[in-house]
């Protein structure tokens, strides 16, 4: 019986082998097979496969099926040489192209690094896919919200009863006054179950493996450890904490953890849950008591859907225990992607970026890339006119359309690759450091994984390469060689397509510029907006203890710079305690400030009607209210003085109306405000009005007074101007980012325009020279040069300006609830900026024409 070698191996050989060599190679392989097959068929087959594999050498491999592409490799070299020569021959155009593309690419790369880091911020957790946060869905006023809170007993109970739950941890917010030697600070901290550090993979820099075993263990984040201990080894050192009340306790540092950049769980100081249990034993076993967050770790190969049925029981338990906080159901949120959902979870323990911010960054990057690609497309179509002869010759000596396309695409990809490199450099050297300084992030030039780099850069190159190169390549390749060589091909002079492109480019540029200016104008308006009270001369000190409040007040009474002082429980700009009451069967929520006598006078709140609180008036302490205008409007009162409201079953009479004032940053809408009196025992703040001259000196003086009267309490004073620091920082960052982006857009658009105009000027130099000789003056030539572009610019303004305004206005409305009405100024500025750019671009060429001696131009053949 005749034996045959494995068919697939034979086919493989036939497929890869060079046809000229196939017969002998296959023959030898078969001969060896049939010889071996007589002894052992299996071995023979194996040997055959082995031989086929060994024959796979460069020499034996079939080159390619089609004949002409056998020299495509050689041609590639020729294309690259031509590309290099063309680039060098038109240094201006090529540098404009590379610069514009690199800028856009740099921005795209930087945005991508940011987005990538945000999406993968939590990927350092090895159990990422098995960890879930359990959240509660609560229905209030027919609106269902997801809350981060969960019953204190849920986590231990689930761990005990559900076999697929491997571990669980709770997170409970706390606060402490921490003291080490002379340093005293207020710190926020987390009570967590000891399994916290096993479930999550926060790297333990120093210390024991099970650091939260004992009640008085404390784990610090590296930066916190550095704050207290500097470079010394913190392990085993003791920190004293006042958790609640006046009890000072000693804690031993057992471990220092690292918090990787961007981690959505912001762990700073960790204390064991058992400490909390000791402090509040009555809450420990109370279903009604809520912790701020809980996480479960599932066993491998199990999903949360297996738990969903079981959860109903816990919902019932919770709702019996606390009917006023009725849970609709419990949800599971995977830790993977939790960062992006954090903003949608109320009082979330995790924090992440706003998804909208990531989207807009991505959109901006793509917009800029498109703009740069259009730019490139435009310039390359225009410059092709100088290369018509080259294309004609290539076609005549046998170049096919395919090859011309290949040539121009190769050129394009080569240029794009160079731009990509320059873009990386730009991002690494300038854009990323700039981004870091603008926003509270610390990004490094890196990616989450190798695949991401490969995919991202591949996609980027493909995107810009194809977008910018495909049209010119195909268009150019379709020319008739005869026409070209006979000089009958009039390409690039009045191409409708390139005008449409330029118009598009300018529309995008104007949208961005108008939008940016409207936004910037609004930001400046908000920065200078009246807060509703005088804030420049106010210093506020946080005081927790009544004794220190009194001591500070008494010491400061003699200070000549201080005009007025008053205590308050909630302070304007810092607190937002909410209270709700029923008025005519309508539930109204208001911000509640409980203050001391004279507080409103100290803060220079403006009285509109009635009076402020009066120390001589006995009933004021218990029954008087001052409210703001918004609340009056909301209640619909025409004569509000003397009206009454019931708060917590006490009747209050309105004695005064004050003008609206900003108690939070401008991101929030101004709401109804209630001001009432409270006792000194409850004061948290001492507001101080200074005479105005040199607030900072007075602030320093108050600080030293504090150190002498309360050495064990942290000094928490601030000037009122700093209350909106966060708001101002975000606002400034937005303005800077927008200024940057609009500068780039203008640069890109004008680079494109410049490239086009300078090219057309070169092309028409002879025409201009003849006109000059015949007596045309510069303004006539200017008219000729710009005629084409005036329509383009006008169209762009007409379309771009309203579009930009509408876009940005909806954005402003979404961000700031109380924006100003749009002013004409931003439009005028935008138009002027664009006109200036165009004028500079055109006049640079006009100067060239003026300097050019017509005889030199005309002598050239």
């Amino acid at each position: 019986m005749k034996q045959y070698p494995p068919k697939w191996a034979d086919r493989l050989l036939e497929w890869y082998c060079h046809p000229a060599l196939l017969e002998e190679i296959q023959g030898d392989a078969h001969e060896l097979f049939s010889r071996k097959a007589k002894e052992n068929l299996q071995m023979a087959k194996l040997q055959f496969v082995w031989n086929v594999a060994r024959f796979f050498r460069l020499k034996n491999i079939r080159k390619s099926t089609t004949t002409y592409s056998s020299n495509s490799f050689t041609m590639l070299k020729s294309y690259l040489t031509t590309a290099f020569r063309t680039a060098v021959r038109h240094p201006l155009n090529s540098s404009i192209n590379i610069l514009a593309l690199s800028l856009a690419l740099g921005i795209a790369i930087t945005s991508f690094i940011f987005i990538d880091s945000q999406l993968h911020a939590d990927h350092f957790h090895t159990n990422l896919n098995r960890i879930y946060q359990v959240t509660s869905r609560i229905e209030i006023d027919k609106q269902i919200d997801e809350w981060s809170d969960s019953p204190i007993l849920l986590a231990p109970m689930m761990l005990q009863e559900q076999s697929i739950v491997e571990a669980s941890t709770r997170i409970l917010d706390g606060e402490a006054i921490v003291k080490y030697k002379d340093d005293v600070f207020n710190e926020s901290l987390w009570f967590v179950d000891p399994s916290f550090l096993e479930m999550f993979s926060f790297p333990i820099v120093k210390g024991s493996k099970n650091p939260l075993a004992n009640g008085n263990d404390i784990v610090l984040e590296r930066k916190i450890a550095q704050k207290y201990f500097g470079d010394a080894d913190p392990i085993g050192k003791s920190l004293s904490l006042i958790l609640n009340g006046n009890v000072r306790e000693e804690f031993t540092v057992t471990a220092v953890i690292e918090r990787p950049a961007g981690s959505s769980l912001y762990a700073t100081i960790l204390l064991p849950m058992s400490k909390f249990n000791n402090q509040m034993p009555d809450k420990t076993n109370d279903w009604a008591y809520q912790v701020d967050g809980m996480f479960i770790l599932l066993k491998k190969n199990h999903g949360v859907d297996e738990l969903s049925k079981e959860m109903n029981r816990y919902v019932a338990l919770q709702n019996i225990a606390s009917p006023q906080w009725a849970v609709k159901d419990f949800q599971f949120q995977s830790l993977d992607g939790l960062a992006l959902k954090s903003s949608g979870i109320i009082s979330s323990v995790s924090a992440g970026p706003d998804p909208a911010a990531l989207y807009s960054l991505g959109v901006i990057a793509i917009l800029l890339l498109t703009l740069a690609s259009l730019n490139y497309m435009n310039v390359s179509i225009a410059t092709v006119a100088t290369r018509l002869k080259e294309i004609g010759i290539r076609k005549v000596i046998g170049g096919q359309k395919k090859e011309i396309v290949a040539q121009f695409l190769t050129e394009n990809f080569a240029l794009c690759s160079v731009s990509l490199l320059v873009g990386c450099l730009l991002s690494y050297l300038f854009l990323l450091p700039g981004f870091n300084s603008l926003f509270p992030v610390n990004l490094s030039f890196g990616f989450s994984s190798g695949n991401v780099i490969f995919l991202f850069f591949g996609a980027l190159l493909l995107f810009i390469g194809v977008l910018s190169g495909a049209y010119p390549a195909f268009y150019i390749a379709s020319f008739q060689p005869v026409k070209i060589l006979a000089g009958r091909e009039k390409f690039g002079q009045k191409s409708l397509f390139s005008r449409v492109l330029l118009t598009l480019q300018f529309i995008v540029a104007i949208i961005t510029i108008v939008g940016s200016f409207v936004f910037i104008d609004n930001s400046i308006y908000l920065k200078n907006k009246d807060w509703g009270y005088t804030h420049s001369n106010i210093i506020t000190v946080g005081v927790k203890e009544k004794s220190s409040y009194l001591a500070l007040r008494d010491k400061l009474l003699t200070d000549p710079e201080i005009v007025k002082m008053a205590g308050a429980e909630g302070h304007i700009g810092r607190s937002d305690n909410r209270i709700s009451f029923v008025h005519h069967e309508q539930r109204i929520e208001a911000i509640d400030f409980q203050v001391g006598y004279n507080y409103l006078e100290t803060m220079s709140i403006r009285l509109k009607e009635g009076r402020l609180f009066d120390q001589k008036n006995q009933s004021d302490r218990q029954h008087s209210l001052v409210i703001n205008e918004t609340l009056v409007k909301k209640l619909g009162w025409t004569s509000p003085i003397g009206q009454s409201i019931e708060l917590d079953s006490t009747k209050f009479t309105v004695v005064g109306i004050v003008e609206d004032f900003h108690y939070q940053g401008f991101f929030n809408k101004l709401g109804p405000v209630i001001l009432r009196l409270t006792d000194e025992d409850k004061f948290n703040y001492l507001a101080i009005q200074t005479a105005g001259a040199n607030v900072n000196d007075t602030h320093q003086r108050i600080k030293s007074v504090w150190a002498s009267i309360a050495p064990n309490e942290p000094y928490e004073g601030f000037v009122q101007d700093d209350v909106f620091t966060d708001f101002n920082r975000d606002n400034n960052a937005n303005v800077k980012l927008l200024v940057f982006i609009s500068t780039i857009t203008i640069t890109l658009a004008s680079l494109g325009l410049f490239g086009l105009i300078s090219f057309n000027t070169t092309r028409r130099m002879k025409e201009y020279s003849i006109r000059k000789v015949l007596g045309a003056n510069l303004s006539q030539i200017f008219g000729l040069m710009t005629r084409d572009y005036v329509t383009i610019l006008l169209t762009a303004f007409v379309v771009g300006a309203p579009a930009g305004f509408l876009l940005i206005n909806s954005l402003i409305q979404a961000i700031y609830p109380n924006p100003q009405n749009t002013q004409p100024l931003p439009f005028i500025v935008a138009v002027l900026v664009m006109l200036c750019t165009v004028a500079v671009t055109v006049s640079s060429q006009l100067i060239r024409i003026r300097k050019e001696n017509p005889s030199t131009t005309l002598k050239k053949i």
Partner: protein, 112 residues
Amino acid sequence: MKRNNIGELEELVLLTVGILYPEAYGVEVMDEIEKQAGRSLNISAVHSVLTRLEEKGYLKSKMSDPTEERGGRRKRIFLLTAAGKRALEEANELRTQLFNQIPKMALLFRLT
């Protein structure tokens, strides 16, 4: 003198092709080398040496008649060219010449 750049394996293959005249082809060469020199080579290695030698001009080749055991395929029969013969002679000469220059003592000494 222009040097003939042939390696040791090339020389071996070239010699074997000479020995097997007029029936030298891939498998046969491989077998012969194994038999004579005790070196087992993979068929693909033999092939690449044969083609290399042909490119250098030391061998020429022609296709034989089809045979049954090769599934009706032809063999490529390799023959020595004049250049190949000279290259072999030169290599051989050089070797003998060098060998003869070794003092008898050295050989004797090594033998003991």
